[in-house]
Amino acid sequence: MNTHQGNFVRTSMIEAAPAPIQTGGIAYWLRKNLFATPKDAALTIISLLVLAWLIPPAVQWLFIDAAWTGGGRGVCATVAQGGSQPDGWSGACWAFVNAKFDQFLFGRYPIDERWRPALVGILFVLFLTPMLIPKVPYKNLNAILLLVVLPILALILLPGGWFGLPFVETPLWGGLMVTLVLSFVGIAVSLPLGILLALGRRSTMPVIKMLCTVFIEIVRGIPLITVLFMASVMLPLFLPQGVTFDKFLRALIGVSLFASAYMAEVVRGGLQAIGKGQYEGADSLGLSFWQKMNLIVLPQALKLVIPGIVNTFIGLFKDTSLVSIIGMFDLLGIVRLNFSDANWASAVTPISGLIFAGFIFWLFCFGMSRYSGFMERVLDTSHKR
């Protein structure tokens, strides 16, 4: 019985299997994301064609044909327009932005004193950056520097009039500086005030509840432009002769109160999302109202509404440009004001200036948006679905 039966013995080699479908590398990514189906492939090709049609002229206009340096409208105007560029030329006029750059940053702030807003700006970045990085220690100290020391320093340095610094009145302020001061104050005031208003509106004390509700509903019901216009134009008519207070201060108060009303509703949305059990749990631990809010409710509620809060911040940042209707020049206002400088009047000056202003606004708003996304991930515990 040494014959081997019933066992299959292969007589030829098995054919080589096709290589497995690649699950990495560029080719795989392209196939998966861009050319998965014929429809996808068609869309990809159409998109590429549109981009190829849009991007080269944009690059040409923005960079290659642009006028980068020069001292007047001549560099941004064609010969027929009284300039030095060949006929039919069109390109961005960065020379205009270049020449007016300091004005765009500081407005009409006296040139010799511009180190003051610059210093405040540098300190702002120095204090803000460690505040934004969760791993950096000494957050309490940092918060005091950013929210107490910096505003006091700014109050001394920006208007001056103390310690031998010449007084610089606010009508001379302008540009990015005004945009940032307005938004920083608006943000710093609206978040705490908005939280208080939201708590007030949910309070069981009828007077507080009514006051907060009335404030929120009235302020939310009025356009910001009306608030600013009333503060700037009508208010002086009701004040006694000779009593004026600073227009910039009026705008600051208007913007802050306005943002607070919106913030209150965003925070209230967060408060409503917190289950009753959380409140009851806190009560059963014997926590006081403020302990309950600070330790249990608000940390959860605020985390939930980060997108809404940042949305309000971004809206506020962009709304600051409305102050130009009351004769104050924020970044957009000062850019537009400079269109009226006849020495720079050309067909491409306005669009170049607006692209520049738009880019700066985008930088800030995009930064805020990215940071809020980062914070959501850092604080994420279990709510993500």
Binding site: Q103, F229, V233, A342, T349
Partner: protein
């Protein structure tokens, strides 16, 4: 209509609430605080615009400087309040500004109902039309059916409607909120005709891609006398603001310029001597509440009317606006100063 109602409301509010503001002597207030608060445009090429270092410059701005120079012998003692078209009247009424040098058209409504005083006209403007040469239009009366680019909310828009209605012409208004939008739309060919004040047409030419393809039609469809405005009820201040303008005109007529003003003080011409306050026992400036050197100080600060015009909007500026109606009365224009004596 809404504009008129708003204006009337603001005016009424002002009359009721600001009535007490007219009594104080503006000159004394200005001297006490040490500067003139001057309302200017929020940006109009040649009239009020920032220069390279961000300081205000322009035709209206020079008037502010001239008033400051007449009072303080120093043209820099001015603070500017940029005011929008809506803000300007309440700003003047509430006393926030002492004088409004903001290319403001003198109308009966503003002179009476709003409670302002106008007298000198420092720039005679009028609304005109710009068209493409390709249209082969030689007169505004041939514009029937045209698409007209115009800035909304301005007297320009109302004048346009009045003119086409009066001449029984059809038109399609293409309206925009911002001046640069109107400019861009016209340049891009979205309308056949562009209408605004003539001074504006000149600054528009600077921003067109092919300025030679466009022409300005001869018709002027409105009178726009622009001048400084003050509150009613303070005749001394009104006199000062008026005579600052007349001094600028008179200086041009006498040939007194920023460069030769010191030399001209030695002139033997009694008219010039009187004007420059070097005549014996002169009261030419003290009667105004100023010093006798007031005219000299104005000219030292900004030059004469012709110099102010040329530097900001005339031949010496990119705008290159012709003098036209704004030439002196003896040179074909209507700028005329009462005698200084």
């Amino acid at each position: 209509m809404a504009r008129r109602i708003l204006t009337a409301l603001v005016g009424a509010a002002v009359m009721g609430i600001g009535a007490h503001s007219a009594s104080a002597g503006t000159l004394d207030d200005v001297k006490a605080k040490g500067f003139v608060q001057c309302g200017v445009n929020t940006g109009l090429a040649g009239f009020a615009a920032p220069d390279a270092s961000g300081n205000w410059s322009g035709f209206d701005v020079d008037y502010c400087k001239a008033i400051a120079a007449a009072i303080f012998a120093d043209g820099s003692k001015v603070k500017y309040s940029p005011t929008s078209a809506k803000e300007r009247f309440p700003a003047l009424q509430s006393g926030e500004v002492d004088v409004l040098a903001r290319n403001t058209t003198w109308t009966i409504n503003r002179d009476t109902a709003l409670g302002f005083n106008f007298r000198p006209v420092n720039y005679y403007d009028g609304q005109g039309f710009m068209v493409r040469k390709g249209l082969n239009v030689k007169s505004a009366l041939e514009l029937s059916g045209a698409a007209v680019c115009v800035q909304t909310g301005t007297t320009t828009e109302l004048n346009l409607a009045d003119y086409f209605k009066a001449n029984n012409l059809q038109y399609n208004p293409v309206v925009f909120e911002k001046l640069e939008e109107v400019n861009a739309a016209y340049d891009a060919g979205r309308c056949d005709v562009y209408t605004t004040d003539q001074s504006g047409l000149y600054s528009l030419r600077l921003t067109l891609s092919k300025p030679d393809d466009h022409m300005i039609l001869p018709e002027i469809i409105s009178k726009e006398p622009l001048g400084p405005a003050v509150r009613q009820g303070d005749d001394q201040w009104f006199d000062i603001v008026s005579w600052v303008h007349y001094a600028l005109i008179q200086a041009e007529e006498f040939g007194v310029t920023q460069a030769n003003v010191e030399e001209m003080k030695k002139s033997t011409n009694p008219d010039v001597q009187r004007f420059l306050g070097v005549e014996a026992d002169s009261k030419i400036g003290t009667d105004l509440g100023l010093t006798n050197e007031w005219a000299v100080n104005i000219i030292k600060a900004v030059g004469n009317y012709g110099e102010v015009f040329d530097r900001n909007i005339g031949a010496g500026s990119p705008l290159k606006i012709e003098r036209g109606l704004n030439a002196l009365w003896n040179k074909g224009g209507i700028q005329y100063a009462p005698p200084v004596r």
